[in-house]
Symmetry: C2
Subunit: 163 residues, 2 copies
DNA sequence: CCATACACGTGAGTC
DNA sequence: TGACTCACGTGTATG
């Protein structure tokens, strides 16, 4: 335990986060800068992995801070609480609006066809199209806010399966 | 270090969370149930406080899990990432709608007056009203989703200042 | 002093 | 097996 380097304090970077949007992980310090021969600073791969995990969580926490107003100088629990309130309010409001304008949100449906002479305005129409299959798919479902993200994920999964 | 009680593992309560909405803090174990005379289980007040802090954060994390679909069996970082996507999507959608129906979101304004013979339909109109001042305030601002919460907070702050 | 909030490394699980 | 989670207690800074 004595030979471990320990960053002697943590620093509040909330102000930097608010001003610089490219600021992601505050406390990544290059190891070679702090190496001293008086104490052979040994990092376990375990502790490094754990630090990476903490950094990932804190990066998302910082991202959340930028989305929630007046959330700087809140502690983690309060920030998270504001986040759930935010999501609840936005969802409730979205539901009210779609009810007020009675936008239909029924009948999930998936359809597809294979048009024979498709002429897409993009590229990828030349020689390499002979070993590709074009399918046009249409999806109709409740427009949940994450539906696009999920579709992307599913399509990437299909691509991966085809190897 | 040897005399400390250590809960030997952490458990995945995601299924319980999904079925029981009153489920908040999974891993609070009554201390008297695990007390053994073979090891005098000593909790520092420090470690207890830290546990309370962790529990508060994790409770909000569980609340967030219930709001985000398909977020069970995600780790903390992924859950948080989905949360920020969710908030971004909802905010973007709300902005699109208010732009499509051009709802005016301008001119923040605060006004107030002191009506002389106000007759509120609630209570608190009898003897104790002689040392109270009634002020009617009206606020007009952009209807951010958290505006009501913030108003409550500000009003409570005013009450606290008046002691 | 006391309380609170954070990063850290570690033990112990899962896959 | 190793790579990945998580809870835990501790050191440390801040009010």
């Amino acid at each position: 335990m004595e030979n471990y380097y320990q960053s002697s304090s943590w620093t509040d970077f909330s102000d930097k986060v608010s001003n610089d949007s490219s600021f992601i992980v505050p406390w990544t310090i290059p190891v070679e800068e702090i190496a001293e021969d008086t104490a052979t600073t040994v990092y376990t791969s375990h502790s490094q992995a754990e630090k990476r995990r903490r950094d990932r969580i804190n990066a998302q926490l910082s991202a959340l801070r930028e989305l929630i107003p007046t959330s700087h100088k809140m502690d983690k629990a309060a920030l998270l609480k504001s986040a759930v309130e935010q999501v609840k309010d936005l969802k409730r409001k979205a539901a009210e609006i779609s009810k007020a304008f009675n936008i239909p949100t029924e009948m999930d449906e998936v359809d597809w066809d294979r048009p024979q002479d498709i002429n897409p305005n993009g590229s990828r129409q030349g020689n390499d199209s002979k070993d590709k299959i074009f399918i046009r798919a249409s999806v109709c479902c409740d427009d949940r806010p994450e539906v696009f993200t999920e579709l992307i994920k599913i399509l990437k999964g299909l691509k991966a399966k085809h190897h």
